[in-house]
């Protein structure tokens, strides 16, 4: 089993609050977090910026509670798509997109949900938890996504903030569970403040409310997150077997195999 991970820490402009979020996450026992950069196409033309380098942002990362390791920080890009044309960006081999460790889409319509599940090269599909579901989940795209190793992401921080959102979170989660049968679920926070973060065991218990079984709920904060990260890694590699790294000094490419990737579900 892998360590606990929270794949959604919103990357605000304020470095100090991000630092305190990281510290709380490490204190609660998360060994991996992903900084989330959201691009909403509704709001004018947005450039995909290069991901921030966590090591540049934070000179010293906090140590995970009860271990001697430092917390691992990944980068994640979330595209909020409300029109099929927005997806073109993902198909084009934009250089900046490839630099992110995890790519997620937040489809706003049923058609886009279908596209995201079946064709887009992404790692996560976000599920709307703040309002009533705008569409019903259908089995074919969901099953297809499960086969392709794409995970569905549920957020819990909105449920802490507001009673109405709590209802939508639970009810949308249960609707999804009826289709996906508890498979391929990732639960992450989207917490803006340290007090909105919860410990991994708390989330595993919360998963029961969402209709997951005990082991599925624990997987939603551990092994499924690991699988998502590996799925993201395979995008950077060829068929998940060969992948290229730049040597730090010389500008020459070297091929190495990464055994961990072999086992990741790939659909190159």
């Amino acid at each position: 089993m892998a360590g606990f991970a929270d794949l959604n820490l919103p990357q605000g402009p304020d470095k100090k609050s991000l630092q305190s979020l990281l510290e709380t996450a490490a204190h609660l026992g998360y060994s991996t977090v992903a900084l989330n950069h959201v691009i909403d196409f509704k709001e004018k033309k947005q450039e995909i910026v290069k991901p921030v380098c966590p090591s540049e942002l934070f000179p010293s990362l906090p140590i995970v509670q009860g271990t001697s390791k430092r917390i691992k920080v990944l980068t994640r890009l979330t595209l909020v798509v409300s029109d099929p044309s927005h997806c073109n960006l993902l198909r084009s081999t934009s250089a900046n997109i490839r630099l992110y460790d995890i790519i997620a889409v937040f489809p706003k319509t049923e058609k886009l949900f279908h596209i995201a599940c079946t064709t887009l090269d992404v790692d996560l599909v976000c599920i709307n938890v703040t309002e009533k579901l705008p569409f019903y989940f259908r089995r074919p795209p969901v099953n297809m996504a499960i086969d392709r190793g794409i995970f569905f992401e549920l957020l819990y921080a909105p449920a802490i903030k507001d009673s109405t959102m709590r209802r939508y979170t639970i009810s949308n989660a249960i609707s999804l569970m009826q289709i996906c049968k508890g498979k391929n679920i990732v639960i992450s926070s989207a917490a803006e403040r340290p007090l909105e973060l919860r410990g991994p065991y708390d989330i595993a218990n919360l998963g029961l409310l969402f209709g997951l079984s005990e082991s599925e709920a624990k997987a939603a904060v551990s092994t499924n997150c690991r699988a998502t990260i590996l799925h993201g890694e395979t995008r950077k590699s060829a068929c998940g077997v060969v992948y290229t790294v730049k040597k730090p000094r010389k500008v020459e490419e070297e091929e190495t195999t990464l055994p961990a990737c072999k086992k990741a579900k790939t659909q190159a």
Partner: protein
């Protein structure tokens, strides 16, 4: 007592599977710096109101006991009947505010045995 000393006890073994009546949680309430700290009665009220919000009157009716409370560290040991563990835990998880200010319950340990809460090796600092 004299009677008991007469005959040495014969070997007997009882296995109790999942028979614990209660579950115990060690929790700590996290509040932003400054501001009022709840008294033990307020803490209980907070727990019950969290249960009422998420699980309604049925949830609020769950017997929850506050076995210990340390106002300095805001940590407490709660006891709940076994069938109410998931409800209580989830209610604490989704509780977001105390007296209109943000707060968070950190569940440090849960166990069906109160004795297990006395010695948690994960919190042990040996070096």
């Amino acid at each position: 007592m004299a009677r008991a000393e007469a005959a040495a006890a014969t070997f007997e073994r009882r296995v109790l599977r999942g028979a614990a009546e209660h579950q115990y949680l060690r929790v700590r309430l996290e509040l932003p710096d400054g501001g009022a700290r709840p008294s033990v009665a307020q803490l209980k009220q907070l727990v019950v109101s969290a249960l009422r919000e998420l699980h309604g009157e049925v949830g609020a009716a769950l017997p929850v006991d506050i076995l210990t409370y340390d106002a300095k560290t805001l940590s407490a040991i709660l006891r709940v009947i076994s069938s109410g563990l998931v409800k209580l835990w989830s209610a604490l998880t989704l509780l977001g505010s105390y007296q209109n200010r943000r707060c968070a319950f950190r569940v440090l340990q849960t166990s069906p045995f109160l004795l297990a809460l006395a010695g948690n090796s994960r919190e042990l600092v040996l070096d």
